[in-house]
């Protein structure tokens, strides 16, 4: 019965639009497909570059395929720079930042969406305001503050701010918590669950896509950051991957095929993380864009 009701109005205008839709679909495939190729082919070109010998790399006109592929480029990078140390530093910083941001943003977002928080509206407006105050603008006073704390040349200035919740994280988590029906919370309250229990046992498991999205975004931001590590880190053994790769530029002058290899290696972990989390990731990113 209900099916018939839905079907009926569709039947009438179908005859012409049907061919049109199919036509549109081919066009969409062409557009989306060529766009996707444009997005990804340069990465393939960079990969080929990273496998060329120096002589081949600077050949004009450029050759496309490395012949034979110089896999040793990659081991050379490992040998010439403490790449393992850089990777470990990046990993420690990005993981600590991600855990902190997900935890704190979820708590603040939950308070804003689901708890009787005094001055809730004002806090929400403040969060909107901080979105307009990007890190670049505040880097000077932040630098002076962390210097006062004695935190220069440590990982702390790169981690602690994430433990204080980010505006983006707060918005994302607030949206997701708002979407949960009120009934769960009420039922749990009747069963005697306190606010902490409701948060950890009932609401958090329901916003896993948003948690995954925020994790990937935070990890990504921390992993690829250039400005903050440049400002805060100085000792060679404390540098992160992006700084390490940039430093290789000076070491391998003219040998950009080696630096390209280093850059691509730094992409691998984040790419793996993205592929693993993609299912949640796109959905969560979408929910961030919907206004609530």
């Amino acid at each position: 019965m209900p099916e018939a009701l839905v079907e009926q109005p569709r039947v009438r205008p179908r005859i012409r639009p049907r061919t049109r839709i199919r036509f549109g679909r081919v066009a969409a495939y062409l557009f989306v497909g060529s766009g996707a190729l444009l997005m990804v082919l340069p990465f393939l070109a960079a990969l080929f570059n990273s496998l060329k010998s120096h002589a081949q790399y600077i050949e004009v006109p450029p050759v496309i395929l490395p012949d034979p592929p110089q896999w040793s480029n990659y081991s050379q990078v490992w040998d010439r720079a403490p790449f393992g140390t850089y990777a470990l530093n990046s990993f420690v910083i990005a993981t600590a930042a991600t855990v902190g941001n997900v935890l704190s943003s979820a708590m603040v977002g939950h308070a804003l969406a689901r708890m009787r928080l005094p001055a809730r509206g004002a806090l929400l407006t403040a969060a909107l305001g901080t979105l307009m105050l990007p890190t670049v603008v505040t880097i000077i006073p932040s630098f002076l503050m962390f210097r006062e704390f004695g935190w220069l040349d440590t990982f702390l200035p790169l981690i602690v701010p994430f433990w204080l919740a980010t505006p983006f994280g707060i918005f994302l988590m607030r949206q997701s918590f708002l979407a949960i029906p009120q009934d769960f919370q009420e039922a749990a309250t009747l069963d005697g669950a306190g606010p902490w229990r409701i948060f950890t046992r009932i609401h958090l498991p329901l916003v896993k896509p948003a948690l995954a999205t925020l994790s990937v975004f935070t990890f990504m931001a921390s992993w690829g950051a250039v400005l903050e590590p440049t400002v805060y880190l100085t000792s060679p053994d404390k540098l992160t991957l992006p700084l390490g790769v940039m430093g290789l530029r000076g070491q391998f002058v003219g040998n950009d095929q080696l630096v390209t290899a280093a850059a691509l290696m730094s992409l691998v972990p984040i790419l793996v993380l993205f592929v693993v989390a993609q299912r949640y990731f796109v959905r969560g990113a979408m929910s961030a864009g919907v206004k609530g």
Binding site: R12, P13, R20, G24, A28, Y29, V32, G33, G35, A36, L38, M39, P42, F43, A45, A46, N49, I58, E59, V60, P62, S104, M107, V108, A111, M115, L117, P118, A126, G129, T130, M132, T135, V136, V137, I139, I140, S142, M145, P161, L164, A165, I170, E186, P195, W196, G224, V226, V245, M246, T260, A263, L267, L271, F274, V275, A285, M286, G289, K291
Partner: protein
């Protein structure tokens, strides 16, 4: 009898306010809420209020980071007015934004409309657009070099097929900003596309059906249903892109260093140099203040204009 227990279960939603246990429960909950919000309160104090106040103060001082700041009144700001390099950087930033913001918005919307159809291999295709999004600017610099290197890149090889002379791209004072903007769109469009995708899926299908019955063509449907339907998201994308542009530090820092000459010297890069290379923190603070003012004014203008063209369903 069967209905009775249900009713007692429902009542707490409107429990009497004066009820003692409920009252104390509410106080406990409020205390928990404050506890939950503590990280952000700390954020507001340490990472918002302090920087803003410190910037306001430092902007009126001369501060080399070693000796304590000395009050110089409006000197920094009058110096800014006459600083040609600063004005060049502001113009460069504006030029970059003028290309980047509209281009990214249009590309992202077009991609979203195309990807909104039920295509096969969707996750794979969508994933492809996200590869540049997850790449850091250091990675993007080398990947972009494979394309835009004037001697070795594939862009000039493609131009050559069509008999067009090679371009200098990032090494050309004229092309450097458009090329940077193009690369920024390449990196950013995938994310904005997802935001549009969400908005598209929220538009009720019946509207399209109705328009079709009324004889509207594909363009007409796009113009009169899709565009107003996603206008709220368009606004969000415009605001986000503008803010991104003004802090496009990492891209120029890694890819051009502001060159060739000062052709891609953006204001954030100029501020960074003043503060962390020449250690003129007072002057850099004044520049940061101007940047913040520009972001604020642009956001307010966008908020004001929003009423004219954004339709909330």
């Amino acid at each position: 009898m069967a209905g009775a227990p249900r009713k007692t279960l429902r009542t707490p939603r409107r429990a009497p306010r004066s009820d003692r246990p409920a009252h104390s429960a509410r106080r406990v909950e409020r205390r928990w809420a404050m506890l939950f919000a503590t990280p952000y309160l700390a954020h507001l104090v340490l990472l918002t209020a302090w920087p803003v106040l410190a910037l306001a103060y430092l902007g009126f001082t001369d501060y080399d980071t070693v000796s304590s700041p000395s009050w110089t009144g409006l000197d920094n700001y009058s110096r800014l007015l006459g600083d040609e390099a600063f004005w060049t950087s502001l113009l460069n930033t504006g030029y970059f934004a003028l290309i980047f913001v509209p281009l990214q918005t249009v590309v992202a919307l077009a991609l979203a409309v195309a990807l909104n159809q039920k295509l096969r291999f969707m996750p794979l295709l969508r994933g492809a657009y996200f590869v540049p999004v997850v790449s850091s600017w250091v990675v993007m610099a080398y990947v972009a070099d494979a394309v835009f290197n004037p001697r070795l890149g594939s862009a000039n090889a493609v131009l050559d097929w069509f008999g067009i002379d090679p371009l200098m791209w990032l090494d050309s004072p004229v092309l450097v900003i458009p090329t940077l903007a193009l690369i920024a769109v390449w990196k950013g469009a995938g994310y904005m596309m997802v935001l549009f995708l969400a908005a598209l899926q929220a538009i009720p299908q019946e509207r399209y059906e109705a328009a079709r019955v009324d004889g509207a063509g594909a363009w007409g449907r796009f113009r009169h249903i899709t565009v107003p339907g996603v206008s709220g998201t368009t606004f969000l994308v415009l605001v986000l892109s503008t803010i991104t542009t003004l802090q496009a530090f990492e891209q120029v820092f890694v890819m051009t260093g502001g060159g060739p000459g000062d052709a891609s010297e953006l204001t954030v890069l100029y501020m960074y140099r003043q503060g962390f290379e020449y250690f003129q923190m007072g002057y850099a603070a004044a520049i940061a203040w101007v940047l913040f003012a520009v972001i604020l004014v642009l956001t307010l203008i966008q908020l004001r204009l929003q009423k004219r063209w954004v339709h909330y369903a």
